[in-house]
Symmetry: D2
Subunit: 441 residues, 4 copies
């Protein structure tokens, strides 16, 4: 079996130990020989801690995997087979700005939605495009597994604005929904086939098949019978979708849809919260890295689960193993639509089931996305494509036009003021917008 080299960019992330655990668990099928951890100067301290923990984990597992850390990205990409991007441009502090500034205008302030998500895209996209272009040159057969949010926009940016087509956008949302549905129905994950339609964080389960039988309504009934959102994520609020709505639409939306159809509820929750999610994560991470530092720790600590990345490692390793083995398994990933959803444009990124091959993911045809999901997904894809272009080219006008039409912007005047303020606040990370920012300042 051919040996495998993994490169982890943004290796100083608190998620890395989960990834390493996955590598260890999958070693039998995926003979990793090299792991190269990469980060930027700003992440040096964290990466050192992670590097050391990784060495201890691999030692305990007794596996012949070589691990190195480096700040030289191009060097790291030599001979790479899989490159995992989990970087966060600007770090957790930039996220907190993404949350606080919109909030100050009475807008939703959130990591991947509204103005916050848009600025995360603006900071991230040029960096990932650079990585993709470097890969096209240095390791053209390698696959870029992108975990950095907003996953759909980042993936679309690489596919449209880089020289590299070997990219897969990955989010742990679908796999979590799958596991939760399995638990609700008390069946094995492998007995389920769940049809996902939509875009990352704007996704809908439109069908739950169990041994060929449609059990969608049953899942909705169970969800409605409970008092908490059984498919929801910790980082969205705890209120449920309206029960009548789930029955009426006969589909199960991603929790993130709440930002759009429970906007008032989430604005109220945002106002009431003492800390933003980013501020909480900052505290959790500080504690986690304290744990990681502990020389006696030789495995992923339980506390990592509070961080929110449930099944992150499973999702990543499933995809990598499938490509490596050409195993034709079905994974839910972010790819060009290309006919998968017939009433969306072919050239936008969607999150759908794909057959995984060594030549990449092939989406399964799902037909039309049904109303009312159709309308909001069509709108959000139009928005995302504009932001992607703005991010890749530094187009200020496209940026404000896109944002004003985003459903989370309830005022053109304040929306544009907010965008300007955020441009200035993110100045260090937005070189393409330098002249626009200068004009504002």
């Amino acid at each position: 079996m051919k040996k495998v080299k993994l490169v982890v960019i943004g290796a100083g992330s608190s998620y890395t130990p989960e990834l390493i655990e996955g590598v260890i668990k999958n070693y039998e099928y995926l003979p990793v020989s090299d792991i190269t951890l990469v980060d930027v100067d700003m992440g040096a301290e964290k990466m050192a801690i992670i590097f050391s923990l990784t060495q201890r984990m691999l030692a305990k597992a007794n596996l012949p995997i070589q691990v190195v850390q480096t700040f030289d990205r191009k060097q790291a990409l030599q001979d790479a087979d899989f490159v995992i991007t989990q970087l966060r441009v600007g770090g957790i502090d930039a996220r907190i700005v993404d949350e606080m500034l919109p909030k100050s205008y009475g807008f939703i302030g959130q990591e991947t939605n509204g103005a916050g998500g848009m600025f995360k895209a603006l900071r991230t996209i040029p960096v990932i495009i650079d990585i993709a272009n470097e890969m096209a040159e240095i390791c053209p057969d390698a696959w870029l597994i992108n975990f950095t949010n907003p996953a759909s926009m980042v993936t679309e940016a690489v596919l449209k604005h880089s020289n590299n087509r070997r990219v897969i956008g990955l989010c742990n949302g679908p796999i979590n929904m799958l596991h939760k549905v399995a638990s609700l129905l008390d069946v094995e994950v492998d007995d389920l086939f769940i049809e996902f339609k939509g875009s990352n964080h704007m996704n809908f389960i439109t069908k739950v098949l169990c041994d060929g039988r449609d059990r969608t309504r049953e899942v909705i009934d169970i969800m409605n019978a409970s008092d908490v959102d059984e498919l929801g994520f910790k980082n969205v609020n705890n209120e449920q979708f309206n029960k009548e709505l789930l029955w009426a639409t006969h589909c199960i939306p991603s929790s993130y849809l709440k930002y759009y159809i429970k906007t008032n509820e989430l604005l109220a929750e945002q106002d009431a919260a003492e800390l933003t999610r980013g501020q909480m994560v900052k505290n959790i991470e500080a504690e986690l890295f304290e744990k990681y530092r502990d020389e006696s720790l030789q495995e992923k600590p339980k506390e990592l689960e509070a961080r929110g990345g449930s099944l992150y490692s499973t999702a990543a390793l499933n995809v990598i193993r499938a490509i490596y083995l050409d195993d034709k398994s079905i994974q839910t990933v972010n790819v060009m639509n290309n006919g998968a959803i017939t009433n969306l444009p072919n050239d936008v990124v969607v999150e759908v089931n794909c057959v995984m091959t060594s030549a990449g993911p092939i989406p399964l045809c799902t037909g039309d996305i049904p109303s009312p999901a159709k309308g909001i997904v069509a709108m959000m894809k139009d928005y995302e494509t504009q932001v992607v272009t703005a991010a890749a080219t530094g187009d200020y006008q496209k940026l404000i036009a896109a944002f004003v039409f985003n459903p989370l912007c309830p005022s053109d005047n304040n929306g544009i003021k907010l965008v300007k303020e955020m441009l200035v606040a993110n100045k260090a990370y937005l070189p393409l917008f330098a002249s626009s920012i200068e004009a504002i300042d």
Copy 2:
């Protein structure tokens, strides 16, 4: 020249004298011989006033046009050439409910948008479908010129759910925008060719051509240089679109778009207003009918202009005359898309330029609707199609699913509560929803 019979349904409307004025002005090209005024019992008193005023206007114009009034719609349709629907199911009081109930939830309360517009569609669509079906039987060659709002949904309902394809949805919005642009540029209306893309009340001027020269940017500059919304309508608010936005999008939206991108501003205005637009209109109408009653009045009184229906008559007569004369003139009307806007479905109603022929309007190809208009129009068409189906079939589940995803519904729970309350309040006009309403009550 073949004589022409016009049937006006909802003839008790305060607008009717404007229509009659148009008939008189166009007599040379359009030899109307018969005008039949139709209304329901509830409108008897108003129709009588209008009937009498019409007789005086025609007498003064000295034209051999016979006018009759009747409550027997089927009788009226005999030998009709053009049927104009300007009815308002539930009258102005139903409109005030459409405004007040959403407002009580902190939602936009408006005649053609949000919950108000949706209930206007629910009340209107079954009635217009009935008229269209009667026409298909009694006067199959006649054209239905529908003025009743929401024009796009009503037209789509007839085209999809009746046996009649000879329907044109008409709104005075585009013709007013055309005249205002002509005035801003100080040119003749006939020298302009304005490209409209979108849907009724969700329309965009994407190009202003004057003698073949593109003067779009110039119009935007003039609008931005002024302090009032030069293309706006009295029934929307007076605040302008953000200037940077107009430059960035390089197109001019219908004023109604403000409900979507200036939602907070319009909610504030709504809160501050003493009277709703419907309440104001009720007062204006009362005064108007006082004037109309005056036996010495022989023409349309100037005060009608305050009512809001500017150029209503011009729009209607342009279309009727064009069909009658097969004159191939270009009018902006509501028709099936059918390729006119390439990135919208073919089977939704759009408001675009059409060549008018005796066999009906033929839309002009406009290509793609550009972002960001594309996103919001795609979303609204998806919403409208769902409401149309719900209205034509009494489908409660489709109705709530549609409304929760409408961008003017910021809360699924409150949105569904509001819909239920409005269903109950509109009980008398929604026979198809009888069992759903009973279940709510």
Copy 3:
């Protein structure tokens, strides 16, 4: 494991022993408990022979499978899990007419192409629609596996004109191309992933992947280096596609495409042949049934291979087993396009790779079909859809319009004469065309 009942309609076919052999080989994974053989009176003698041979084969295999024969189709469908249609309306003699009459006009006379294929569709479609409708009533969960040619038209007919959506069109063409490519490259079938685009018998291999590596050009080079058509079928001619053409198109067409791009060569071959393929098959079948009659025969005789149905049984059992096991394997079958080929209509049947589930096949997205395949496939799908409608409704005008525009009809006048002559010759099998035929006679 749930027991499985198979129903074989047209069981008197000489192919049946191959199918039985497949059932025996797959018993471990697919526990068949009942096989019901069905045929019409005309096939009684053959079915009796097959029935007896089947009993001997099962006895030798020592498997607890019950086999019965019947002429009562509705009875047979009770509790069916899979219904395999391999019937031939009019028998081999009708096929010979399909070959001889076109030939007499100087047209291609062939089983699935041109006038011959069209009349096979006309005879077959109403019968299969009846079966599909009966299944929808009697065994609504069962799957119809249709082998009767022309597979694409028959499948489209069921999907558009019956009440049954649980149908899969199957042809042994793709699996044979797969096996031949494996043999050319000297690799295992399981190591290959072959992208098929197009329609049955008008299909193109557009990509050959082996362990994720594109080896398409290599296959073409090997084909071009040989003197015989390495991927061709016995029932098409032996001449190769032009070598320059294969290099230029960079894809490998189904042998049946020769009828369209080597028309003159095949017309010459047709003229030179002493016997038509149908006449040869008639002789082969007579000999085969002699063998089958032999009471000592307890397995499929080798001579069956000369009949042309290579891997027929493998294809059938792969599909049935996959559905039974919900095994998510990839099979190349005939299904509604539904986005699989992005530049063909969504509502035409195509032959593409599908993931097989218990809820049916899900096509894989393939993107656009490239030129020049695009043009001819688009044309043929338009033709087929017209023939399907004509066959299901008895529409004579649609029929002649379709055929005159078929590329194998080089003369409108002679084409229409030929269609009339064939209608008369097929009178017994075309009840829907009775009045048209009467008008011709």
Copy 4:
């Protein structure tokens, strides 16, 4: 009124006097001040004759129009308003080769169809692209009115492969069909609205409206009642379309469709003909130029009609006048589809009704092109797009792939041989194919 400068490229054409006659007739509405005649050296003698005749015609008409002749194309384009291309690369002799070589293989040999049409495209496209690019630089506001065949491919080439979008492809086919239908119905041309769908020389009348009434069937009945092809052109054969076919399709195809559905009949006629159409035209032209030379001739001679360009001048002047006057008249021209025919790609050139404006033609929406026209037009557009690309880039492989799949190529081997022979024969005119031709030679 702004003065107008016309540039005629390929001015040595025998059609030019017809064009001049049109200019004279339209002077009232279209104040032409300058006509510049342009040709290449090879056409010097003919251009001189035309130049002199033009001077005499203008003198007789007593109009203040200046006419000059030149070989300097760039000079000619200075200040141009309209550029008319009616050039013939290789002259009439190249056409005769286009006819004779295919004939020698038993293929259709014709000016705009099959191999002949393809080579005309190959010779012409690079020249017209050059002209279009020069115009974009020298006279960017001018319109290119292209008459050179194959009109559809040439227009698509300019729109896709030049820097100039101000091009209109024009053919006298539609206007002749319009006039002939008017004559059959005995009505005025202005009373008719004819819906054309398809591509140049592959066009279909799908509806004949007269004062809003559908009279399509009546036209077909009249055609079928006569013994000659009432809508046919002299340069196609005289046999009628099959009568049953016209009734069945309920549309009227362009005569050129006969090459595809009466192939055998036209091959027979081709075999029987002593002279090709090109050879006849060569003789006609020689006689015409004898007439033109006659110093006493001061107008277009009647004999020009035998040449085949009936209404050529009317078509050209209608378009030029409409653009000049921004008159919004409806003309049938070749433009990007852009939604006009909903079931063809948006980015192929179609021949449809357009509203003419100073900013160019705007196609009218026609909806789907119906079967069976849909299939053949889809196929031919795919073919044409490939030839356009091959012509613009010199791609030999695309060329042979395209031609083998053309329905007029009945043999891949002979088709490729023919293409090679024609490449060599056209060597002087195909600089982009120089290396491919060398490899063949």
